[in-house]
């Protein structure tokens, strides 16, 4: 184990090293004594590896494997598992403070909060804090969509609040693409609303805001791009014409979709 530790912490991409550790754990877990807290070792070693290389696929995967195996053998309700999951959540927060766009860490965080049974509201609170720190952080916006999707259908009251959050970002910094991208998800969820009146009202109010921002910021392409997928055929053509003139780099694309 000491040898593989040296191997994977200096060169985490050597998957053979991680697999050897997994095999050793599987063997050791047979005997109660050796199984006592094999996981602390695995978490310690993969943490060193991640500190050296925070985007290493095998290190993240080993960590996920370790936690999954703990859950499988001890159960989610075990005190040890809960404490470990809480520590993992705190570790994710620390790593995301250092690099708020590390998608490996965001994916691992989704796995941890789901295993821990964190409420959607609590995780939304966390992403809101990350967005307030830096609303260009698209990964935090994406996390909102992922955890809301994981809960199932999104109701119209929740959508209303999310549209407001996105709109605040549009008015603050219309050129910032993060909230506009999140807006695409909101539109898709609004279109999936089951009650026709609620659906039509949500889309109409979203379109209204896009028109307003487009008016206030005539040189900004994002509200026009959003309008291009919301307006009727005639207005859509006008919007694409305007896009071609303010964003000539993509004129080939606008012509393709017209």
């Amino acid at each position: 184990m000491a040898m593989t530790e040296k191997l994977v912490t200096t060169c985490p991409e050597v998957t053979t090293g991680w697999n050897r550790r997994k095999e050793a754990v599987e063997l050791g877990a047979e005997t109660a004594e050796a199984a006592r807290d094999w996981w602390s070792e695995e978490l310690r070693v993969s943490e060193i590896a991640l500190r050296n290389a925070p985007k290493s696929y095998p290190s993240w995967y080993h960590r996920k494997w370790t936690v999954s195996r703990m859950i499988r053998t001890m159960g989610r309700e075990s005190e040890t598992v809960r404490m470990t999951l809480e520590r993992e959540r705190a570790l994710c927060s620390r790593l995301l403070d250092a690099d708020d766009r590390n998608f490996h860490c965001w994916a691992y965080r989704r796995f941890i909060v789901q295993s821990l049974g964190v409420t959607t509201e609590e995780e939304l609170e966390y992403t809101l804090k990350k967005i307030e720190d830096n609303f260009s952080n698209y990964s935090a916006w994406h996390q909102r969509s992922a955890i809301l999707d994981a809960r199932g259908d999104v109701d119209s009251a929740t959508l209303k609040g999310e549209f407001e959050l996105a709109s605040n970002a549009f008015y603050t910094e219309p050129e910032d693409q993060s909230a506009w991208m999140y807006h695409r998800w909101l539109i898709a969820r609004a279109r999936a609303l089951k009650i026709p009146d609620e659906r039509d009202a949500a889309i109409a109010s979203a379109l209204e805001i896009c028109r307003e921002v487009a008016e206030l910021e005539p040189g900004c392409k994002w509200p026009l791009l959003a309008r291009a997928s919301l307006e009727d055929e005639k207005s859509r053509r006008d919007v694409l014409d305007r896009l071609s003139s303010i964003d000539p780099a993509r004129v080939g694309y606008y012509r393709d979709v017209a």
Binding site: L7, T10, C11, E13, V14, T15, T16, W18, N19, K22, Y57, P58, Y61, K64, R101, F103, W106, A107, R110, E132, N134, F135, S136, N137, Y138, S139, H142, S145, A146, D149, A150, T172, E173, E175, D176, Q177, S178, M181, R184, W185, A188, L225, D247, A249, R250, G252, Y253, D256, V257
Partner: protein, 419 residues
């Protein structure tokens, strides 16, 4: 509200604007490509690959590919001695027990390095390169990593599954001549689940869209002849909006900085999209006639068969490039992309090697993908036309096949000999 990432984007755009202006003032166009210096740098990378030496470095098969492919794109020929040594090195990377190639001699087989080693061998070509590949072993290796339930592939024994795994499996199978229905089944469905509302493709279902995975997912579908339920229109919108209008290069994700390597990962999607649209149109036409390749498919009971035949015939046409017909310009700005690579990704001091962006150091990975991106911007900006920004004698590169990122004529020679 302070926003560090937004200001970093503005800073990079300002730097790029200045570099473009300086280049134009000096040359009346973009910078000339310093091909000799880049070739020398890539040759140096191959010098670090001894024939058989077990080391810890897990990316040496990749190193071989980056350098061999980069040199081929530059139109350079390998010395016999180097050529033989690289083939010997890749042979030593074979994981005989599992099939497939490891990252270095004695290492466990990995899908990514299997792709890299295969693509390097295709580029090198010749009987000895061909002999390194044991088709049946590669197939056995791929099938041992396939997840039947999802259609995805684990990247190595006991490892994670993602869109990268799908691509590496499809491209390796294609070049090794073992891409059959066992290998391809379910790939379109898996990749479709990785597409996000942004339009791009994430590494795994639920993940954020990412340029590397988007290329991998789209190319995997193209190779499999199965696009599942991918929304190609939305994919295209995401892609075009990744190109920075001032910088000219592509960013890898929503609201990230432009980076030279995405010249290939994002740029390479455009020729694939164009062919995908042709193939889907053809599939639709074929389906409405219910006749496939001379055989009439009768009732809906036979749809399984129809889908299989269509998949195979679409894959063939895809890789033969039979559908590149339209001469309209691509949806991205190929001239701006060339400008980014020439003005911003070559070093400031005249040294060889290309980089992520101004202010970062060169490396072999970025050198390979900047050159690949430059080649495809020259050859796939407008179908049937080669458009070179800057002086053609220094800047024109050899055409690549975007499905596998191997120089086109070498790919074609290899595939013709594959029986």
């Amino acid at each position: 509200m302070p926003s560090t990432s937004a200001s970093a984007i503005e800073d990079l755009a300002a730097t790029a604007r200045e570099l473009h202006r300086d280049a134009f003032a000096r040359n009346g166009s973009a910078e000339p490509l310093r091909g000799d210096a880049h070739a020398e740098y890539l040759r140096g990378g191959l010098g670090a690959l001894p024939q058989v030496f077990v080391s810890l470095d897990a990316s040496r098969a990749w190193m071989a590919y980056w350098c061999v492919h980069g040199l081929a794109v530059l139109g350079r020929v390998l010395d016999d001695e180097v050529r033989t040594r690289v083939v010997g090195f890749l042979d030593a990377c074979v994981d005989a027990r599992r099939g497939g190639f490891g990252g270095g001699p004695g290492q466990m087989g990995h899908l990514a390095t299997t792709y890299a080693a295969t693509a390097a061998l295709v580029t090198i070509g010749g009987d000895d390169a061909r002999e390194v590949i044991a088709r049946a072993d590669v197939k056995r290796f791929l099938m041992s990593l396939k997840e039947k339930e999802t259609g995805g592939f684990r990247v190595h024994e006991g490892g994670e599954a993602d869109a990268r795994g799908c691509y590496a499996a499809m491209a390796s199978a294609h070049m090794c001549g073992c891409l059959d229905n066992d290998v391809r089944s379910g790939v379109g469905a898996y990749v479709s689940r990785c597409q996000t509302y942004e339009g791009g493709i994430g590494g795994e279902p639920g993940g954020e869209a990412h340029g590397g995975y988007t290329y991998c997912g789209l190319a995997a579908c193209a190779l499999a002849g199965d696009f599942g339920t991918l929304d190609l229109e939305n994919l295209e919108r995401w892609l075009v909006n990744r190109q920075g209008e001032i910088e000219g290069g592509f960013s890898g994700r929503t609201n990230k900085l432009v980076d030279g390597c995405y010249s290939f990962w994002q740029g390479g999607c455009f020729p694939l999209l164009r062919r995908a649209n042709d193939v889907m149109l053809l599939q639709f036409m074929e389906r409405s006639k219910m006749t496939v390749g001379g055989r009439t498919v009768v009732g809906s009971d036979d749809l399984g068969l129809e889908a299989r035949v269509l998949g195979a015939c679409a894959a063939t046409m895809f890789t033969s490039g039979a559908f590149e017909s339209s001469s309209t310009p691509a949806a991205f700005s190929s001239g701006a992309l060339q400008g980014w690579i020439l003005d911003c990704c070559q070093s400031d001091n005249g040294a060889g090697g290309l980089r992520d962006k101004p202010g970062t150091g060169r490396d072999h990975y970025h050198t390979c993908y900047c050159l690949s991106g430059l080649s495809l911007a020259q050859h796939h900006g407008r179908c049937g036309l080669v458009e070179v920004v800057g002086p053609a004698e220094s800047n024109a590169l050899v055409e690549i096949e975007p499905l596998v990122n191997v120089v086109k004529h070498k790919y074609e020679t290899w595939m013709r000999a594959l029986t």
